[in-house]
């Protein structure tokens, strides 16, 4: 494996609240290689966005990184000063959010927003930055980009807006892009376009991508490796084909089975009983055990199974037995 | 020396005959002159006339000898022509002074420096009516299209309303109504050597808010303010470089009561008018502790009154003005006698922007009357709302203040004691009516024998006092605050004549 663009080591994010300290991200470790697309899936509230935000240093108070390391190209970025971290953002890590409408400042023309980002990170003149902005827009497939540079976000359709957002994320040629549910707000046809665009651009530039989503289908089609999160913890990580076709964690298995496609022809869908516990009421031991069909006595006790970096596929006491 | 002078209100106009009103006349006095003037003690002294007397031939004529060698501010010469012109102007329909000259049938020149006023009967007190009738230059008025008096109510704006050309000690430099008026000394004034004339420039600023006015004096921004709020007298007086001087004013404050109506609308007594009972009025008169009002509300700055007549007025006697005893027990007994042992309730209407501490006085009276069971609701309001109540007979119990520009009792009787009517008694809100008294009042005007006349006045007063027609409270005291360098006495009409001011 080539040196990872992003390495997360035992990352813990904590939110102190009135009753207890919550851990929306709990001992996560993962790597993304150059040019690789890593999918992150999990139910709502599993901590996917929180992980992404932690990487780019945008956790909202009171959430903060409590322990662990984040390395970008081998360099620690979780303990940078505000200003140095700012220079990492946009320049070395690009970000794409879920809702393209709210991601863009409604009062500034899109060209202006791209130009300012370029000027911020690259040593170019304003004129150069502007022509680069046009080029960036052309790359993401905005027709007549030069003419639309002065348009405001509201003058674009949803799909076009998301293209603009992608252009913004990529305009300073970052090594890593974090895309947090970039297509959830879009129609299938547009979703297909955006995913294809993202894949194409990253492949061309060798950018590593962390693609957060909860759509298994998107994962299957778009990513190289996938990480499955549950209640803030990494449940399983591995090659996408392996994980999806031969899940090692009962949670992954349940998730896969409950998609209508997987239950084709059945009168009822397979379902995981119960719901993901709230962070303030996590069970002892493996967080999934109350819903797990295979749960044994060991699962109910601390410590819970954790996935260390490169330490296997699934955080399940039974994983290795079954994969083997 | 510049005198920065402030008071609550501004002059309304510079046209000397358009408005008969305190601040207006006060400003006019600096710029223009009447034939005779009241000096700062209220005494009538020569101004543009040097001598005057009833004509020996005709008792209906007053003859005046005019001052010679006087010039107007623009250099024009002053003579009898200007006086005749000004008097005719003051008697024209738009003039606000025509009532003062109502008895005048004709004015005429008698040579260049002689002037005569013809009246429709002997008028023994004629000169006292003339101290605010200013003289302006005929040629100037003609040249500037200002021969007619400004129709103030009709909203006319004339040259004379914004400019002035008098013979007075000060000349107009600039004027912004309600904001600032600047006057400078008239170097050619006839009395330049006769009067102190130590103020060379006057800057006159109306400052309405009392606290601001005092603040301006305290901070040295103005040198002289009229109407210092009584509570601030001590502060002003004890401030280094400032002084306060006080003097009784020609104004008495009193309450009027509806004693004529058979029943009152605003009371809680069915079918009767408690105020119609003299015993009740007497009781109320006794209940009011004038000394306390003086001490607390007025901070000593008032002269408790026993009669609704300022002490300057012809007819005033110490005896009349002696205070009714403040005796709550006796008052209660009177109330019980009259059948109001449990009291009654009534509304007192009071202005809150007219007299010194008017509202506080009323409030104090409320407390005092409460002690004899008269339960008073107080309604204090701006004068614009208060006075119509009196004139339209819409109030049963009200406060009123009365000044007597003629310094004669007749003026009081005409307005306050005579049965209310068109010509007489127009400010009599008491509904009191005594035809016999009315006759006596009307006879006063034509009585030439001064002794006889004074007897009649005394008679009328005894009736008024006996009826407890009004509840007199006090005579107002004027308070002028000024820089210590200013040396003057207080003018009882509250019209400072700055030519008399000395600067230390």
């Amino acid at each position: 494996m080539a040196e990872a663009v992003l390495s997360i080591r035992d990352l813990v994010v904590e939110i102190p609240t009135r009753h207890a300290v919550l851990r929306p991200v709990d001992r996560i470790s993962l790597d993304i290689a150059p040019g690789e697309i890593l999918g992150v899936v999990g139910e709502s509230g599993a901590g996917k966005s929180m992980t992404g935000n932690a990487v780019i240093g945008l956790l909202d108070r009171p959430a903060h990184i409590a322990s662990g390391e984040i390395l970008l190209n081998g360099e620690r970025i979780d303990n940078l000063t505000k200003d140095r971290l700012r220079r990492v953002r946009g320049k070395r890590i690009g970000m794409v959010f879920q809702d393209p409408l709210t991601s863009l400042n409604p009062l500034l023309p899109i060209g202006e927003q791209i130009t300012e980002t370029i000027l911020e990170h690259l040593p170019v003149t304003r004129a150069e930055a502007e022509s680069r902005a046009v080029a960036a827009l052309e790359e993401v497939g905005i027709p007549a980009a030069a003419a639309r540079i002065g348009s405001y976000p509201h003058e674009f359709s949803g799909g076009m807006r998301q293209r603009v957002v992608i252009a913004l994320a990529l305009c300073a040629e970052p090594a890593l892009v974090i895309a947090d549910e970039p297509t959830t707000a879009l129609d299938v046809s547009v979703q297909a376009q955006i995913i294809a665009l993202l894949k194409q651009l990253c492949r061309e530039r060798g950018t590593a991508v962390m693609l957060v989503t909860h759509d298994m289908g998107v994962i299957a089609e778009a990513v190289d490796r996938v990480a499955v999160m549950y209640a803030g913890r990494l449940a399983e990580i591995g090659d996408v084909r392996d994980v999806l076709t031969r899940p090692a964690h009962p949670y992954t298995a349940g998730l896969m089975a409950s998609t209508p496609l997987a239950s084709k022809g059945l009168k009822r869908l397979n379902q995981i009983p119960g719901a993901m516990p709230s962070l303030s009421r996590l069970p002892e031991g493996c967080a999934f055990h109350p819903r797990c069909p295979k749960a044994a006595e060991r699962c109910r006790r601390a410590p819970d199974p954790t996935l260390a970096a490169g330490g296997g596929r699934a955080a399940c006491w039974f994983a290795n037995e079954r994969v083997a | 020396e510049t005198l920065n002078w402030a008071r609550a209100g501004d002059a309304l106009t510079l046209d000397p005959h358009a408005q008969n009103e305190g601040p207006t006349s006060a400003l006019s006095h600096q710029i223009m002159e009447p034939l005779v003037i009241r000096d700062m003690t209220g005494k009538i002294v020569p101004a543009l006339a040097t001598e005057w007397a009833p004509s020996e031939e005709d008792p209906n004529v007053w003859a005046f000898k005019l001052r010679e060698g006087v010039t107007f501010h623009d250099g024009a010469e002053f003579d009898s022509e200007d006086v005749v012109f000004s008097f005719n102007r003051a008697m024209s329909p738009d003039s606000d002074f025509k009532e003062l000259l109502a008895s005048v049938t004709e004015v005429r020149a008698n040579g260049k420096y002689g002037f005569e006023i013809v009246t429709n009967g002997p008028n023994p007190i004629m000169p006292s009516n003339l101290s605010d009738i200013f003289v302006i230059d005929k040629d100037w008025a003609e040249a500037n299209n200002a021969t007619k008096v400004q129709d103030f109510e009709g909203g006319e704006d004339t040259y004379a309303a914004r400019n002035a050309n008098g013979t007075g000690p000060y000349k107009l430099v600039s004027r912004e109504p309600d904001s600032k008026t600047v006057l400078t000394m008239n170097e050619n004034y006839w009395g330049k050597d006769e009067f102190p004339m130590e103020v060379t420039e006057i800057v006159y600023t109306p400052i309405q808010n009392a606290a601001t006015r005092v603040a301006a004096l305290l901070s040295g921004e103005v040198d002289f303010i009229q109407d210092v709020p009584v509570q601030d007298l001590q502060r002003v007086g004890s401030t280094d470089g400032l002084q306060v001087i006080t003097a009784p004013q020609n104004r008495v404050i009193f309450f009027g009561m509806n004693q004529g109506d058979a029943d009152l609308k605003g009371d809680d007594v069915e079918g009767k008018n408690p105020l119609a009972d003299k015993r009740v009025r007497e009781a109320m008169n006794m209940a009011i502790n004038r000394e306390a009002i003086k001490q607390v509300v007025m901070r000593g700055q008032s002269i408790p009154a026993g009669v609704a007549m300022p002490p300057f007025v012809n007819g005033w006697t110490e005896d009349l003005d002696s205070l009714p005893a403040n005796d709550v027990a006796k008052a209660k007994a009177l109330m019980a006698d009259a059948g109001y042992a449990d009291g009654f309730s009534i509304q007192l209407d009071c202005p809150n922007d007219r007299y010194i501490n008017d509202e506080a006085i009323c409030q104090a009276a409320v407390g005092m009357l409460a002690q004899i069971g008269v339960n008073v609701r107080l309604d204090a309001k701006p004068k614009a709302q208060h006075f119509p109540l009196i004139n339209n007979l819409e109030t049963d119990f009200y406060m009123l203040g009365w000044g007597v520009p003629t310094y004669d009792s007749e003026y009081i009787f005409n307005f306050l004691a005579h049965t209310k009517g068109e010509k007489y008694g127009s400010w009599n809100g008491t509904r009191f009516s005594n035809p016999e008294l009315d006759q006596q009042i009307q006879r006063l005007a034509s009585e030439t024998n001064l002794d006889e006349r004074n007897l009649m006045i005394a008679n009328i007063w005894s009736v008024v006092q006996d009826e407890v027609l009004y509840l007199p409270i006090h005579h107002q005291v004027l308070n002028w605050g000024m820089a210590a360098k200013v040396d003057t006495v207080v003018d009882p009409d509250d019209e400072p004549k700055i030519k008399y001011f000395k600067i230390k």
Binding site: R86, G94, F97, E120, E155 | E99, E153, A215, P388, N391
Partner: protein
């Protein structure tokens, strides 16, 4: 946008008509002007004559109609108290009020915006909290009291600033300004603070809460994610978006500055239209009162129109094709 302006102007016109009607009918209850205009010695005939002269004996609708037709031609009649055309008096007084109001407005806006932004970014800092609490003191005392206290402190006790009036003024054509002399500028300080304090607090608090709101928007997060400088994020992105809602309220506040000038002008004897109005009320000077109210309405409506037009400048979503913007 043209349609918008036309609609606003039309609405403003209706508003003015209503204001005129309301104003006019209300004055009938303030008192009887006649009593003030005639002296102690007036007769009943005088009263009747004057009533006729002023047209006060005519039926109310006739009076209103006359007032409206006059007002439309800029003729508001003649002041009962000063005996001069109201339009002249107002023209004379207006510069004083406008100068005071504009200085206060600038104070309110500059400090309101500045402190609002400061307290929003330093949210929970001690300085911001202190400012927030102090600002509440400013709105917890009536304006007139603040004015009097300022006079007491700075004019009477410290003798630093004048307590009343405009100081020296200079005539520039018909405009009489206090901006050009030292004493004129000094005289402006206390009144404009008194007048602007309340609005400043309001603007500041509004800016703060709107700014906090904007700062948690996605595009701010995205701007940060793009690595923009904090200064650029706060002032280029956040502040501009904050302004959109702030402008409306600020517009309304500017309107009420002119109205609140009544109190300040009374306390400081500031020779502006507010003082004129208070004097007019005491004197029941109906033409002046009516003209003043109309003037206030015109200004209010005018300010609102400008505010609405500012929206078009600031917010591109309102420009051009609005159907797309709302879709």
């Amino acid at each position: 946008m043209l349609a918008f302006v036309i609609r606003r102007v039309f609405q403003s016109f209706v508003v003015l008509l209503v204001v005129g009607l309301v104003a006019f009918s209300m004055f009938r209850f303030v008192g009887d002007p006649i009593e003030n205009m005639l002296g102690q010695e007036r007769t009943g005939a005088d009263i009747e004559r004057l009533r006729g002269q002023l047209g006060l004996d005519q039926p109310f609708p006739v009076q209103y109609f006359k007032f409206l037709t006059g007002a439309a031609q800029g003729n508001f009649g003649v002041s009962y108290r000063q005996g001069r055309p109201v339009a002249d008096i107002i023209a004379e007084r207006l510069p004083a009020t406008l100068e005071l109001a504009s200085v206060s407005a600038i104070l309110a806006i500059v400090f309101g915006l500045g402190l609002g932004v400061f307290t929003a970014i330093r949210r929970d800092g001690w300085a911001a909290n202190t400012i927030m609490t102090l600002s509440l003191v400013g709105v917890s005392l009536p304006t007139f009291l603040i004015g009097i206290l300022l006079i007491y402190l700075f004019a009477v006790e410290l003798n630093m600033l004048p307590s009343f009036g405009r100081g020296e003024v200079v005539d520039l054509g018909w405009w009489r300004t206090g901006f050009l002399t030292e004493s004129g500028l000094k005289a402006l300080i206390l009144p404009s603070i008194t007048l602007g304090l309340y609005q400043m607090t309001l603007i500041m608090r509004l800016v703060r809460s709107e700014m906090l709101e904007v700062l948690r928007q996605d595009y701010i997060r995205f701007a940060r994610a793009r690595g923009l400088r904090e200064k650029s994020v706060l002032f280029r992105h956040a502040l501009k978006n904050t302004l959109v809602p702030v402008i409306t309220v600020t517009g309304l506040q500017l309107g009420s500055i002119i109205a609140f000038a009544i109190i300040t002008e009374t306390v400081f004897q500031w020779p502006g239209v507010g003082l004129l109005f208070i004097n007019a009320i005491q004197f029941v000077d109906i033409p002046v009162m009516a003209a003043y109210l109309m003037l206030i309405s015109v200004m209010f409506v005018g300010i609102n129109l400008i505010v609405d037009l500012l929206y078009f400048v600031i917010d591109p979503r309102l420009r051009g094709d609005s159907s797309k913007a709302t879709a």
